[in-house]
């Protein structure tokens, strides 16, 4: 059995539209990689897989999509579709 930690996932722009919510509460393996989180979320919300170049931030910082994270309870992930500020 794998212990999971409860983590908030903020959804912005197209990701929010696809998910239909601005925030999700999910249980994740502490050493999950952003890529695996994205894959898990895309099972429930297939539209996420269609957003090209979607990246993930952990506690307001960009992280490597392939590297295991070290998630703590109540950490904040964010789904960041291609940006269009300016």
């Amino acid at each position: 059995s794998v212990t999971t930690v409860p983590v908030r996932v903020l959804c912005f722009a197209r990701a929010r539209e696809v998910v239909g919510a601005s925030e999700l509460l999910v249980g994740l393996a502490p050493n999950a990689s952003p890529r695996s989180v994205l894959a898990a979320l895309a099972e429930a919300h297939p539209g996420l897989a269609e957003i090209r170049s979607l990246v993930i931030a952990l506690n307001e910082e960009y992280v490597d999509m392939e590297q295991p994270m070290d998630l703590k309870p109540n950490d904040e992930l964010a789904l960041i579709p291609p940006m269009s500020g300016g």
């Binding site: 903020l10 912005f12 722009a13 197209r14 539209e17 931030a57 307001e60 910082e61 960009y62 964010a78 960041i80 579709p81 940006m83 269009s84 500020g85 300016g86």
Partner: protein
């Protein structure tokens, strides 16, 4: 008005829904040692990919956006040692045609650094500051907004 700010003696970063004033940026970067101030202003234009636009609507991952903007400002100062002050503002919510959504101002003794730093700042802002726009225009008499 909702807003977030990061401020030091040499950097002012601002994100919020109030209208942006270019003079707030140029006043902040004014310095007796400055011979040059470069300013970039991004405004809502009335068309996008050939379609009429009536307004833009911006959202942000606000806390992270301000952090990234302040980090970019600090990077300008590190990369161009002569840069004196940096102001970087981004507006959120509705921005009508002709109104500024972004204002960046940089002062330095000589022009080269200020001009290069502003160019770098707007490119970095677009690349990595988590802000998104919706483009809103009339389609068949109804306002239609599309996330970009």
């Amino acid at each position: 008005h909702q807003m977030l700010e990061a401020r030091s003696t040499s950097r002012l970063v601002w994100l919020g829904t109030a209208e942006l004033a270019v003079a707030d940026a140029t006043n902040f970067v004014a310095s007796p040692g400055a011979g040059a101030t470069s300013v970039f202003i991004g405004t809502t234009r009335d068309n996008f990919h050939g379609r009429k636009v009536t307004r833009l609507e911006y959202e942000a991952y606000e806390a992270m956006a301000v952090k990234q903007m302040d980090r970019i400002a600090g990077e300008l100062q590190a990369k161009w040692g002569q840069v004196l002050r940096v102001a970087m503002f981004h507006r959120l919510g509705l921005v009508a045609v002709g109104e500024p959504s972004v204002v960046i101002a940089v002062s330095s003794p000589h022009r080269k650094e200020a001009i290069q730093a502003v160019d770098h700042a707007i490119n970095e802002l677009k690349r990595r500051v988590p802000i998104w726009k919706k483009v809103c225009g009339e389609v068949q008499r109804a306002l239609s907004c599309k996330t970009r």
